[in-house]
């Protein structure tokens, strides 16, 4: 779900990372508290689409993000559709979708290093209670680096399963994935030491 930075020079691109984070967090909170009013919800969708247009990534990008979220959205709606009025369920799905789309907009328009710098600065006051903001920032960076690697492992396992004619079950992939991820973590730890990380 993490889509990395797309270069550009829209207003959103030029906005400093810290304030952008604050604004988006505020908007996300507002959206999740929004009453289930069809007009308001439509307005939210239009606004989010507008943001994507403004960022220069186009509506198609938002569509791609939503497509990746399809299972989440499906679970959200199925788990509620029997108990809640349809409008409420639709509102919930739209809220989740809009919040994720907004969050993705940050990573699309902010360079990772800027984002991490901003988080590091935000965490600095916590130093007094023992939070090492430097460490947290490094951990976040490494997480972002590692996600595509793990995704690659998953793809390889799926291919291997298909090649052997095994029906592809997500559960059968968990154990090999875990093994590969742990091995990767082990090797990465060596690299951190070798590169003088601390």
């Amino acid at each position: 779900m993490i889509s990395l930075y797309r270069p550009g020079d829209s207003l959103l691109h030029r906005m400093p990372a810290g304030p952008k984070l604050v604004v988006v967090a505020g908007l996300a909170t507002a959206i999740s508290l929004l009453p289930a009013n069809p007009l308001l919800l439509a307005a939210v969708l239009v606004a989010v689409a507008g943001c994507y247009l403004q960022a220069g990534t186009g509506i198609a990008e938002a569509g791609r993000q939503l497509w990746r979220l399809r299972w989440v959205l499906l679970v959200v709606s199925l788990s509620q559709v029997f108990f809640l009025p349809v409008l409420t369920v639709a509102a919930n799905v739209i809220r989740v979708g809009a919040v994720v789309l907004l969050a993705n907009l940050i990573t699309l328009t902010t360079r990772t290093d800027r984002l991490i710098d901003a988080l590091e600065r935000a965490l600095r006051p916590l130093r007094r209670v023992g939070v090492n903001s430097d460490r947290v920032a490094l951990m976040l960076s490494m997480t972002i680096t590692t996600i595509p690697v793990i995704a690659g492992f998953a793809a390889r396992i799926r291919e291997a399963q298909r090649a052997r004619g095994v029906t592809v079950s997500p559960f059968a992939a968990v154990v090999p994935l875990l093994v590969m991820a742990l091995k990767h973590a082990d090797d990465l730890a060596d690299a951190l030491v070798a590169r003088g990380a601390d």
């Binding site: 990395l4 930075y5 290093d113 990465l188 030491v193 070798a194 003088g196």
Partner: protein
């Protein structure tokens, strides 16, 4: 040439149920040092003791005057390490950030870091990829990036443990060419590619954790091949 001497005196490395290095003593001051031997013979263990990733159970090691067990920080500034798998040595999400990572903790001003990173990327033909996510690079480019990130730290010794194992012929040639011919630093090259070993100034051969043979690469390699041919 005292500043590029590697000295091992009666070094052994024991793991829980296994001895990976047995009583290794050697003194090396050549520029290019090849390390060969069969699988599990102790090559990687030897390489890893050079920057303190593995600490000797017995004996003494000196790398350019530094004891890796006692001075881990200094030895990691002095010794750059290249692993086989290009994926496991890249730490930061984008190319330029990963190269810059090697300079953190050096107390350099931001502008200087940026300039040095730009120059290093240019040197390795990675300028166009500076802001690319690392996972978009090819394996060959990733290994170039790893090398770039090591060399920007200005090490005196580069240890490479099968650096071409994951690469195709063209990329292997590029990386090997850089390590063997372009780079001024001392090199310890662990490899199964005997043609690369032949281009070094000295070769060490390990068998069963012992330093079984060392000297001129030509004869060392010839004896190794002869032993392998015997059943």
């Amino acid at each position: 040439m005292t500043d590029r001497v590697i000295g091992f005196e009666h070094v052994s490395v024991h793991f829980a149920r296994h001895t990976a290095l047995r009583d290794v003593s050697v003194r090396l001051d050549q520029r290019r040092i090849a390390v060969i031997g069969s699988n599990g013979s102790g090559k990687s263990t030897f390489a890893r003791t050079l920057n303190g990733l593995i600490v000797a159970s017995e004996g003494g090691i000196r790398v350019h005057g530094i004891d890796p067990a006692r001075e881990p920080k200094q030895v990691r500034q002095r010794v750059g390490f290249i692993f086989s798998n290009p994926d496991t040595q890249i730490i930061m999400p984008t190319v330029a950030e990963d190269v810059a990572f090697s300079l953190r903790r050096r107390g350099l001003p931001r502008q200087e870091i940026r300039d040095r990173v730009a120059a290093a990327l240019d040197d390795f033909g990675l300028t166009a990829e500076a802001d690319s996510p690392v996972h978009e690079l090819s394996s060959g480019q990733k290994q170039l990036l790893a090398l770039c990130a090591v060399l920007i730290g200005e090490p005196g010794l580069v240890v490479a443990d099968e650096p071409t194992a994951y690469l195709d012929a063209a990329n292997s040639r590029r990386i090997a060419g850089f390590l063997l011919d372009r780079m001024p630093q001392q090199l310890v090259l662990v490899t199964h590619d005997l043609r690369l070993a032949a281009r070094c100034d000295v070769a060490l051969r390990f068998e069963g954790g012992r330093l079984a043979d060392h000297g001129e690469p030509g004869p060392v390699i010839a004896r190794y091949e002869k032993d392998q041919d015997q059943p």
